[in-house]
């Protein structure tokens, strides 16, 4: 795809982000006015920053790809990604802010005073961070290979290196205004082309997105075969294709079904539920639980709440995040739907994650307008994984440097690492996900993110919810619950990524584990806490008062 505007747009976004991080806001905020300098971050800005950090490659690219493939069933992904903030708002936001904790391990220490539990929480933060970083790098590789034709591994490697170096050298720190800028950039990058797409669709006479007799190519298309597969042609005959073969279709031809790509068609695409019946229902509930409850366990989201001056500001911030994130998630859905009409060839190749990147060019045409829109979308995608991976890497490097390196160099508990520690930690934290991303190219971006949510929902959600709302929680109970629920979810992730392919119920239980791991974690946590009632922290009443009493009481 020859688009002269894409590379400059990506470079501009990257440079602007790094430059604002390094210089821009530093100079802008140098002042002699105390009122200006000591103004806290308003909930609106903070919410935009959370949105900027949260809306990752999975949201920007992955959701549209899933909708293109599976239709209405996967709408639960965007709904859950947004609704997770509702759970956060209801159960966690304000008390967590009042606890004064900066990270999840900090919360364990405040509430249960256990250094072992702290270490366990650290391990889970690192694992979730890595698991969440992998799809970001995957998205980066995909974006670069789609828009420039570079091989997949080069993109993932390049972006991994850029982000790691940037975090290690102290650029892209969690600067609120940079991340807020990223949110608006991402929203613009999807919203502006979306308007053109809708106008174009209207002008085309509103072609059907789920025609009962299958999709048709909107124009003459050539598809290069990459893997061996069997095509089922519209007339019922089938044909085997080999890598390197070129298939040409002319406008109006029906899109054949490919054996290696699992996709829904016709009414199946439009209606919820699928042929697998109960298993499909279970997977959907699992997904809902994972995304609703997993958001509160994401390390890079929680550190942002520290910026709020008090508990009620934290609540207001969450409310604004809900609105901003909800607004954003309307757009990828639209791309997925229109992708059915304009980029059906992606259903042949299976690279549906690229739909957002290709759609503007395919629909609006290869004129200047189409190229500009495509460049805008590519820049937005770049912003998406730059901001989320920087935020994630900063959080992971933060806990590694404070909880792992500080202890390794034997400086005693509770003592924080130095700048050098942080750099070492950032390198370590960056290398692992890059290595993983190079090996899991075949998984859908959103599915890997879904697994990260499942682990977070089965480890930190019970810990936070019970820690905040139940006085009886003990350190032993918390550790047991995190190990049981989180450990089971981690096991499911490992089997999905490196294990043998499964089928039937085991496949469903492993691919979408939240519906059994979350209740397991809660049950174990409650049961073990009841059994170890002697270990309830002595100051539990003081801690609870502190978590729940509004600051205005000045207790």
């Amino acid at each position: 795809m020859d688009n002269p505007y894409v590379v400059p747009a990506i470079v501009a976004v990257t440079l602007a982000t790094v430059a604002i991080g390094f210089y821009g806001l530093r100079l802008a905020r140098t002042t002699s006015d105390f009122l200006v300098a000591s103004r806290t971050v308003s909930p609106t800005w903070n919410a935009a920053a959370i949105g900027g950090e949260y809306l990752s490659a999975a949201s920007f690219l992955g959701i549209a790809g899933l909708i293109l493939k599976y239709g209405v069933d996967v709408l639960w992904y965007p709904v859950g990604f947004a609704a997770g903030y509702l759970a956060l708002l209801l159960f966690v936001a304000a008390p967590l802010r009042r606890s004064g904790a900066f990270t999840l391990p900090d919360f364990c220490e405040v509430r249960l005073h256990s250094r072992r539990l702290r270490k366990l929480a650290t391990a889970f933060v690192v694992f979730i961070g890595w698991l969440y970083l992998v799809p970001q790098l995957q998205g980066a590789g995909l974006t670069l290979s789609t828009v420039t034709g570079a091989p997949y591994f080069l993109g993932a490697l390049l972006v991994g290196a850029v982000v790691t170096a940037n975090v290690a050298l102290g650029g892209m720190r969690a600067i609120t205004f940079v991340q807020a800028f990223q949110y608006w950039l991402k929203l613009t990058a999807l919203a502006v082309p979306a308007m053109f797409l809708i106008l174009h669709w209207q002008a085309d006479g509103r072609p059907q997105v789920a025609a009962a007799d299958g999709l048709t190519f909107p124009r003459d298309t050539v598809v290069v075969v990459e893997d061996r597969a069997v095509l089922t042609l519209p007339d019922g005959s089938s044909r085997e294709v080999t890598p390197g073969e070129e298939l040409s279709f002319s406008a109006g031809d029906q899109v054949p079904k490919v054996s290696s790509v699992d996709a829904s068609n016709g009414l199946d695409w439009l209606l919820p539920g699928d042929e697998s019946g109960d298993r499909g229902l279970f997977a959907t509930y699992s997904l809902i639980l994972a995304t609703f409850l997993g958001t509160m366990g994401l390390p890079h989201v929680l550190v942002r709440f520290y910026t709020n001056p008090d508990g009620s500001a934290a609540r207001r911030t969450t409310l604004v995040v809900l609105a901003l994130v909800g607004l954003f998630y309307l757009l990828p859905t639209l791309y997925g739907v229109l992708g059915r009409v304009y980029t059906p060839q992606l259903l042949l190749t299976g690279r549906t994650d690229a739909v957002v990147l290709l759609l503007p060019g395919e629909a609006v045409g290869s004129g200047v307008l189409g190229q500009l829109l495509a460049a805008l979308v590519a820049a937005g995608a770049f912003a998406a994984f730059l901001s989320s991976s920087s935020g994630l890497l900063t959080s992971v490097a933060g806990v590694i440097s404070t909880d792992v390196l500080a202890h390794a160099s034997d400086r005693g508990p509770g003592q924080r690492g130095s700048v050098r520690d942080f750099r070492v930690a950032a390198m370590v934290a960056g290398i692992v996900p890059v290595a993983l991303a190079l090996n899991v190219a075949s998984l859908d971006v959103s599915q890997v993110v879904g697994l990260a949510f499942a682990v977070a929902a089965s480890s930190f959600c019970p810990l936070l919810v019970l820690g905040i709302w139940w006085r009886g929680l003990t350190d032993a109970g918390a550790a047991a619950g995190v190990l049981a629920g989180g450990g089971a979810a981690v096991g499911a992730v490992l089997i999905t990524v490196v294990g043998p392919p499964l089928s039937g119920w085991p496949a469903t239980l492993v691919a979408q584990p939240a519906a059994w791991t979350v209740p397991l974690a809660f049950a174990v946590m409650v049961a073990v806490s009841m059994a170890t009632r002697r270990r309830t922290p002595a100051d539990v009443s003081t801690t609870m008062l502190r978590l729940h009493a509004p600051e205005s009481l000045r207790l």
Binding site: T103, S401, E551
Partner: protein
Amino acid sequence: MLALITALTAAVWAVYRLRARRSIATATQRATYDVLHTAGLAADPLRTGLSRTSAAKAIRHLRGLVGAQGLALTDPDEILALDGRGNHHSAQVLAAARRAIAQNRSTVLGSAELPCDRVDCPVRGAVVAPLTGPDGTVPGALVAIADDEPAPGLVQATLETARWAGAQLALAELDSSREQLARAEVRALRAQISPHFVYNALSAIASFVRTDPERARELILEFAEFTRYSFRAHGEFTTLAEELRSIDRYLTIERARFGDRLQVRLQIAPEVLPVGLPFLCLQPLVENAVRHGLSRKPGVGMVSIEARDAGAECHITVEDDGVGMDPAVLVAGVGDAASDNGDDSGQHVGLSNVDERLRSVFGDQFGLVVETGLGAGTRVSMRVPKFHPAVRARL
């Protein structure tokens, strides 16, 4: 599959633990380890002082050390905790403990002194040992209950355990007196800032009373708010935002005195404003910068305050372009805070006080870093962790 992985992990962990145990080779070593381990478990609660909660936590481990049928821990008023047998003898035990505490003498009770109307009562004797706390005070007593006339071994063990527990309580006392000392230092610091500043501020305000009454009124209000913050009675910690607000008031008053000679430059990352830090640990640095950067120097002086977000920490620097000082003098002054070399002494005390308080709260690597030289200005920087279990910003 999943169960298999879990089982494997559990097995590996169990083997690892067993091997770790086995590395303690001989029976003697094993016994020493057990005693030290139990003592360590009992020490944690005792180090928080003698109370019902701490006694309840420690008593089980203490009984393990003494090896008696029952063990009670009392203070002069009541039995704080009792583990094992002998619950129905608590009145007699308490009376014996009171006598022991009053006389600071250990006693051995035989079955004659522990009459009981229960046929199956197993209690035949008891050893009462007072706990000797700091300065020879006796905060409580340890009572070991035996099902036989107390053997010499039990008496020995009880006495030694009581002595050890007394030492732990003395350490608890030490901890709390260290905290009291830190609080006293904050109070000392409050008392220290005021005299210079109060005098200067009031004279500066006085000069406006006739020429600009409105401004004088505002300044007095600022001054009132400033003193309210500095003399506030509660809380050892505050947030960076509040500390900056107080510094703003301070600088407003100083500007009234110095006019345009005092330039201030601020660069505060809004993300770190909620960071909790010891009360009044930034303001002395700013006061020093103003005094240093301006008072003994002609022309304009610039004070810059910077707070940066650095991952899990916040980095704060206060810088002036004033006369600076000789590092050797500073080191001597910090080392010996009491040395009285004229006008500078207050400053050294201020810096070393902040330094000590930062170290005592956050740990030794969080002390102040001072970069200075004669004629080169001064730059004082500190690192504050965003979260520390000891910081209770609002309590």
